[in-house]
């Protein structure tokens, strides 16, 4: 018990003293995950919206693969990105391995199926409900998918927040491709894993508290967003809210 209270007290002190090591790790984590989410959302929203509207041979197979990718283990993503970026890999010439760029790429790959699948579901529901009204105005599938995505923008904001939550809380992929190098590629999750194994529990606990705080903040944002939407237009409950849980 003494160990626990001592650890908690020291962790609290690290937080309140604005420990530079701790907050540099937090800053790096946020930076990597924000960039990865931005990259994944840029591609995933467009791809998901198109999949929500387009009808083509093989679509069902593609959706099955996409849904399977939702359960992709992060260490497998790390391994694949590692193979891509390793010196002998197809992208080895970029020299990204064990850098923040590699971590951004790995997290983006991990989050891309989440963004694509949730956007697809959202836009497909909208297409089923009122796609023909836009079609009636002359909007073909490409334009319609973008319009429907825009019309569902508040639901998609929730997707974005969920994607960020998935990115910032994963550990396997960034550990493999980043190498967990102190002061360079060490982020919150990899630092927690390392410090725990080393026995430096206060720093691990302090980082854990910050990580939980970020996830709590994201869930609060989703909740506020949902209420704001309901206030604005009386929309029904957001089907993708709570994905972070």
């Amino acid at each position: 018990m003494t160990t626990f209270t001592d650890t908690a007290a020291t962790a609290l002190q690290l937080l309140t003293d604005l420990d530079p090591l701790l907050w540099s790790i937090v800053g790096r984590s946020l930076w990597v995950s924000v960039l990865a989410t931005a990259v994944a959302c840029s591609l995933g929203v467009v791809l998901g919206a198109w999949l929500g509207v387009a009808r083509f041979v093989g679509r069902d197979v593609l959706l099955t693969v996409l849904n399977t990718l939702l359960a992709l283990p992060s260490v497998v993503v790390g391994l694949l990105v590692y193979l891509l970026l390793s010196r002998t890999g197809p992208l080895g010439h970029l020299g990204w391995l064990f850098s923040l760029k590699a971590m951004v790429l790995a997290q983006a790959v991990l989050v891309l199926p989440v963004v694509t699948a949730l956007t697809r579901q959202c836009v497909e529901d909208a297409e089923r409900s009122h796609g023909e009204q836009l079609q009636s105005l002359g909007a073909q599938s490409g334009l319609r998918s973008m319009l429907l995505a825009w019309d569902e923008r508040y639901a998609l904001l929730t997707v974005l927040i969920a994607a960020f939550g998935r990115a910032i809380s994963e550990v396997g992929a960034v550990m493999v491709v980043g190498g967990n190098i102190e002061g360079f590629t060490r982020v919150m999750t990899t630092a927690i894993a390392l410090e725990t194994s080393k026995g430096d529990l206060p720093l691990a606990l302090a980082l854990g508290v910050v990580l939980m705080g970020v996830v709590l903040l994201l869930n609060a944002l989703i909740s506020i967003l949902r209420r704001w939407r309901q206030h604005i237009d009386g929309a029904s409950a957001d089907p993708v809210q709570g994905v972070l849980a």
Partner: protein, 234 residues
């Protein structure tokens, strides 16, 4: 009179369900055709085929190039935008420049009584009747010469129904626009239509001038339509 629509031997099936069966229908400019029949008889399918939203399984649909169509749905979906921009977006999608679209949208909103501050409200906050008036404003702004309406007043309260019907009456009185609409309201059919098409199980079983449909004995010539009228009118 020039033709605005021709359906030739049109069939539509969804899996094993035949929604339309060998339908033939010709419409000329200025005609106002009402589609009547029980739920599921194919009224909405016919309208969607005529508007190009559904592909036919068999037959041909011909719409002359100079015909500009606009469709009003039973429950118009309100885009997450303002009342004004709801109309402007519709025009923009049809290739109208944003500035011209705004000018035309203001005119259309004034026509349906949604001008002024109302134009800047979120379209989703409008009542059902106001939403349908907004949908009419958008259709009107598109300057069509052929309008298709899928049960435009069926989800509205009596007051909103009268208001929407008055707008439609004014529209047809002020122009030679052709109308085809589906309705369960036979009073409305009498007031708005010049011709009535009765459908049953995807087939056209009667296609008659409105006076003939309501005032002539149909028992021998069109027994199904006669039974329908008897059931509806009591």
């Amino acid at each position: 009179m020039s033709e605005v629509l021709q359906l030739q031997d049109v069939s539509v099936h969804f899996g094993s369900h035949m929604a339309l069966q060998a339908v033939n229908l010709q419409m000329h400019a200025g005609e106002r055709v009402a589609l009547v029949g029980a739920n599921g008889c194919g009224k909405s399918t016919l309208l969607r085929v005529a508007h190009g939203l559904l592909k036919v399984s068999r037959g041909q649909v011909a719409v002359p190039r100079d015909v500009r169509q606009a469709m009003v749905f039973q429950r118009p979906h309100m885009l997450r935008t303002s009342v004004l921009h709801f109309v402007v977006w519709g025009l923009w999608l049809q290739g109208v420049g944003w500035r011209d679209a705004q000018a035309r949208a203001w005119q259309a909103l004034e026509r349906v009584g949604l001008q002024g501050d109302m134009a800047h409200r979120s379209a989703r906050t409008l009542s059902g009747g106001q939403q349908q008036r907004l949908a009419l404003a958008r259709a009107w702004a598109l300057q069509p010469n052929f309008v298709l309406l899928d049960e435009p007043t069926s989800s509205l309260d009596p007051h909103a129904k009268r208001e929407v019907e008055r707008l439609l009456t004014d529209w047809v009185a002020a122009s030679d626009v052709s109308l085809i609409f589906s309705s369960h309201n036979l009073g409305q059919v009498k007031r708005l239509a010049t011709r009535v098409v009765y459908l049953e199980a995807g087939r056209v079983l009667a296609d008659l001038p409105v006076d003939t449909f309501f005032n002539q004995p149909l028992g021998e010539s069109h027994p199904e339509a006669h039974l329908f009228l008897k059931g509806e009118l009591g």
